[in-house]
Structures are given as structure tokens and as C-alpha cells.
């Protein structure tokens, strides 16, 4: 009994050793065992459906039955970029403009705080600021948007504050201005973090050298700091720009009648006219492709 137990334990150990040895001798087997499940699962579920979606952008759909016709055409894109009915073109332009406005706003808001964190704050203060900036980023995105609808509403805290200061009411709720504020708010941390990292990397003696050469603050900022940090601003703008391009929740909750963005049209058409929705979804991907190509030339990828 005892002997039997020992040999079975021994053979288990032996089997394990043989297995380890087999894997050791054939590393490709181990690689296959590790890599196949995730890549196969991903490829099968995600990449296939993504490919199918992009392909369907080049299909047309029957106007009456909304059934997708499987023949290659540019019908959908012609409808989007039609100049005789510029509804969709206008929406695409509005989306890009809002994304650009949000990006510029965030860069302006983020630079001073990033500078303060990187060069002026004490170590303790810096970690505190990190937590204070990161936690809102992680708290529910939906809730943060919703909160602005209550803040901007007619009887909300903003108007209460303005009235308290003796100023008249604002009517920002459900306008493009509200969308601009909310987008800038939601994506701001994405801009602060890369700029902070870039400023922190600038060696302190660069500032001293600039001062020794007679430059004051504004000149040092313009000629030393900004050129070094610019790639990071572009890196941050990748986030703020692309996230705004694809969003449809913010226009839905805080936007008004004239606030539809690409995402809303895609969402509305996704169940009834998939080919059109897919084609319109290709537009932000194309815009981002161009944007990323420019960002790469500006050195943004080294700055992330």
C-alpha cells in the first residue's frame, strides 16, 4: 500500500517532469499552447466581425426592404458625401469641428496644471494631484455626463451661482456649447497626463541655460519648453480628438436638436440600415487615419 502510493506519487512527479522536459525541448509547442487560445478567440470573434462590418460599408441596401445587397459599390459613400443633400456632410463637418475645439480647449486647460505638477509641486502634492486627476477619469463616464445636465439645467447649481453673483441665467443646457463643455470635461485627464510626462522629462538645466542666455519666462516657454512638449500635446490630442469623433452618448444626453454627431447617425442606422451605418462609421476611422499619420510625423508616438 505504502509502496504503491509512493510509486504513484513518483510517477505523477515523473509525468510532470516529462511534460516540462517536452515543453522545454520544443519551445514552439509551449508558444502554441500559450498563444493559440487568445489569438484564435480574438481572431474568430473580433477581427472577423470587424472585417465583415467594414466590408458591408461597400454594399448597398434596398431602399424599400432595407435588405443588404451583396454587391460592391460606393452607394453609401455617395449618399454621405452628397453635395445636393448635405445633411450627412454637415454632420461630419460638425463632428470634426467639435472634436478640434475640444482638443484645443483641453490643451489650453491642461498645460498649466501639467507644468505645475511636473516642476513646482512637492512630491507629496504631485501624488495627491495624480489621484485627484485619475479618479474622475475612472468614475462612471455616463454619470459624469449626466451630472452636467443637472449642473447646466435651468434650476441647477450654475444658474443659482450666477444669480447669487447678480448675473442673469444662462441657457446652456441642450446646446452645442453644452456638448463642448462636457466633451472637454470628460477627456481632460487624457491631455494632462502626456503633457505632464513630457514636461517632467525636460532637464532642469535647460531652463537655467535659457535664463543665463537672457531669456525671460515667456521667451523660455516659447523657444524651449513648447517645442519640446509639442509632441506630447499632439499625443494627448489623439485621445481627445478620436474619443470625440466616436461618441454618441454625450450628444444624446446634453446635446440639442442641432447637435447630432457621426456617432448618433451610426447608432440610429445600425439596426435598420447596417450598410449605411458601417459606411458612416468608416468616416471617423479615415479621419483618424489621416490624423495619426500627421501625429506620427510630429513625433507624437515617441511621446506617449
Amino acid at each position: 500500500m505504502d509502496v504503491e502510493a509512493r510509486t504513484s506519487a513518483g510517477s505523477l512527479r515523473g509525468a510532470r517532469l516529462r511534460l516540462s522536459a517536452a515543453f522545454w525541448r520544443r519551445p514552439w509547442l509551449k508558444l502554441l499552447a500559450l498563444l493559440l487560445p487568445p489569438v484564435a478567440a480574438f481572431g474568430l470573434v473580433y477581427v472577423t466581425s470587424l472585417g465583415a462590418l467594414l466590408a458591408s460599408a461597400f454594399w448597398s441596401s434596398d431602399a424599400f426592404t432595407a435588405k443588404v445587397i451583396h454587391s460592391w459599390s460606393l452607394t453609401q459613400f455617395r449618399a454621405i458625401f452628397s453635395l445636393s443633400d448635405p445633411t450627412y456632410l454637415r454632420i461630419a463637418i460638425r463632428t470634426v469641428l467639435i472634436a478640434a475645439a475640444v482638443t484645443v480647449t483641453d490643451a489650453v486647460l491642461a498645460f498649466p496644471i501639467a507644468y505645475y505638477m511636473a516642476r513646482l509641486a512637492t512630491r507629496r502634492m504631485r501624488s495627491l494631484l495624480f489621484v485627484l486627476i485619475l479618479l474622475p477619469l475612472w468614475s462612471s463616464y455616463l454619470v459624469r455626463i449626466y451630472s452636467w445636465t443637472t449642473i447646466l439645467s435651468k434650476t441647477g447649481p450654475l444658474n443659482w451661482l450666477l444669480n447669487g453673483l447678480g448675473l442673469p441665467d444662462t441657457h446652456l443646457a441642450y446646446t452645442n456649447w453644452a456638448m463642448w463643455i462636457v466633451f472637454s470635461y470628460v477627456w481632460l485627464p487624457f491631455m494632462i497626463l502626456p503633457i505632464y510626462t513630457a514636461i517632467e522629462r525636460v532637464p532642469g538645466n535647460f531652463f537655467e541655460a535659457s535664463a543665463d542666455l537672457g531669456a525671460r519666462g515667456p521667451r523660455t516657454f516659447r523657444s524651449v519648453l513648447l517645442p519640446l512638449v509639442f509632441p506630447a500635446i499632439v499625443a494627448g490630442s489623439i485621445f481627445t480628438f478620436s474619443l470625440t469623433l466616436g461618441d454618441y452618448i454625450t450628444p444624446l444626453l446634453v446635446g440639442g436638436p442641432g447637435s447630432l454627431l457621426i456617432g448618433n447617425i451610426v447608432y440610429e442606422n445600425s439596426s435598420t440600415n447596417l450598410a449605411f451605418a458601417a459606411a458612416f462609421a468608416v468616416v471617423p476611422i479615415g479621419v483618424m487615419g489621416v490624423y495619426l499619420a500627421i501625429a506620427r510625423r510630429l513625433g507624437a508616438f515617441e511621446a506617449v
Binding site: L53, L132, L137, S140, T155, G217, G263
Partner: protein, 277 residues
């Protein structure tokens, strides 16, 4: 290079931005205790009434339970697939190695609406009914990368000679994993898992396309759009903030070594991940 006035200005600006980031969260927190059913400011008196209303609401309970289940399952899938991929990419050199990282990055690099639409049309094409499992599949796509990033960052910081030493001392593959590799990566796994759970718990866009059921964020969205049950929505919003912030905070503590650079790296991972939310 700064004058004293510039320094003071920068400090004021910094705290104004912090206030800008936090005021909306504080406002929602206060509205959750609002004594009146009408959402107007200032709040006249405070109450716990809406908390008990939300707790006893069966719709809210179902939504909460579904969100928790989906979060746990998606995190499980992400932990398994993400860890395997991280080991494969870290330990081996093979053709297409760089594309693997890119592949996992796709679901968060592309807008959530595209991932959602692709999955929903694939499900309908394959005749798959939308159930809880389709939400799990949808969430797993963007949760994998969080675990993957965390584990691979940890593996890069551990020395390969530890593994070799273990093998030299006669340990087999399992023992090496159990006694050497596992203790090294376990906190990275916990951190990645917590982030994945927080992501899944909060996700709306992909969920609207793949949902066979109402998760908590979907419940919030539906009620917001119809302007219904706003006091209860405030309470849920409050709870959702806590349930996503606490895991993230814990995960930060697990991965950071008191160094700013680590915080930045974690932040970058967070930044990438939140994109799908």
C-alpha cells in the same frame, strides 16, 4: 524661469482644474441625498429615502446583479487570455509578435460604437441570441488588453534568471510557475483584474449593441433618456462611482511603488482602456 506671480497663478489654475474635475461628482453625490423629488438647486433638505427605494427596487437589483455577473465573467476571460498572451509575447520571439499587441489594442483604439456594431451584426448573422453571454463576449474584447498590459509590464520588470535558477535547482515547469512566477505576477493579475472589472461595470456603448438584458449603466441610460426615476438614478450613479473608483484605487496601490513614473504608466493604461467606455 517663473516669477512669483506666475507660480501663484499656476497654483490657482491647478486647483481650479481639480475643482472642475470634481464638482460634477460632488453634485451627483449631493443630489443622491436630495430630500425633494424635483432636481433643483440648492437642495433644501437631505434624506436616505432614495437609497432604500433603490435597494428595494427589483429592476435595480436585477440590473446590479447582471452587471456584477458580467463583470466577473468578462474579468475571468480577460485574465485567462490576457495572461497567456502576455507570457507568449514576453518569453518568445516569433513572426508577427508586434501585431499581437496591436491586435489586443484594437478594441480600445477604435471607437466603442464600431466594436459594438461589428459584434452585433456578427451575432445576428450567426443567429446567436443576445443573452448575458453576448455581453460577456463584448466586454472581454476590451478587458483583455488591460490584463495583458499589466502582466507584460510586470514580466518585463522581473529577471529571467529567477526562472533559470529555479529550473537549475530541479523544479519542473509547474513548480517554477507555482513558487517563482506566480508570486511575482499575482499582484499584477489582481490589479489588471480590478481594472477590467471596473471597465466592464461601467461600459455603455458596446453593451447597448450586445445586451440581452439590462446592466446598471443601461438602466441609467434608459431612465436618463426618458427622464424617469431620476432620484433613483442619482443613487445608482453614486454607487457606480464608488464601485468603479474603489477597485481602481486598490489596483493603483498594488502596482505602484511610490514612484511617479509607475503612476503615469498605470494612467496610460487607464487612458487607453477608458476609450471604449
Amino acid at each position: 524661469m517663473e516669477t512669483r506671480a506666475t507660480r501663484a497663478g499656476l497654483k490657482v489654475w491647478t486647483w481650479l482644474i481639480v475643482a472642475f474635475l470634481w464638482i460634477p461628482l460632488v453634485v451627483i453625490g449631493l443630489y443622491a441625498f436630495n430630500g425633494s423629488q424635483i432636481q433643483s438647486w440648492p437642495i433644501s433638505h437631505l434624506t436616505f429615502h432614495w437609497f432604500s427605494m433603490a435597494w428595494h427596487d427589483s429592476q435595480v437589483r436585477d440590473a446590479l446583479w447582471l452587471s456584477v455577473k458580467v463583470g466577473l465573467l468578462a474579468t475571468g476571460v480577460a485574465l485567462a487570455l490576457g495572461t497567456m498572451a502576455a507570457f507568449a509575447v514576453h518569453r518568445f520571439r516569433f513572426f508577427g509578435r508586434e501585431s499581437v499587441s496591436l491586435l489586443f489594442l484594437l478594441p480600445i483604439a477604435l471607437p466603442g460604437i464600431i466594436t459594438g456594431m461589428a459584434l452585433s451584426s456578427a451575432f445576428s448573422f450567426a443567429g446567436v441570441q443576445l443573452t448575458m453571454w453576448t455581453i460577456v463576449i463584448g466586454h472581454s474584447t476590451f478587458c483583455v488588453v488591460v490584463v495583458y498590459n499589466n502582466v507584460i509590464a510586470r514580466l518585463r520588470r522581473t529577471s529571467p534568471s529567477l526562472i533559470e535558477a529555479s529550473m537549475d535547482l530541479g523544479a519542473d515547469g509547474w513548480q517554477t510557475f507555482r513558487y517563482v512566477t506566480w508570486p511575482l505576477i499575482s499582484t499584477a493579475l489582481v490589479a489588471g483584474g480590478l481594472l477590467a472589472f471596473a471597465l466592464s461595470f461601467d461600459e455603455v456603448i458596446v453593451t447597448t449593441f450586445t445586451a440581452g438584458g439590462t446592466t446598471l449603466p443601461i438602466f441609467i441610460l434608459n431612465n436618463l433618456r426618458q427622464g424617469q426615476q431620476l432620484p433613483i438614478v442619482n443613487v445608482i450613479a453614486c454607487v457606480v462611482i464608488l464601485l468603479t473608483v474603489v477597485p481602481v484605487w486598490v489596483s493603483q496601490r498594488l502596482t505602484s511603488d511610490g514612484d511617479g513614473a509607475t503612476a503615469v504608466r498605470a494612467a496610460a493604461a487607464a487612458a487607453q482602456s477608458s476609450q471604449s467606455a
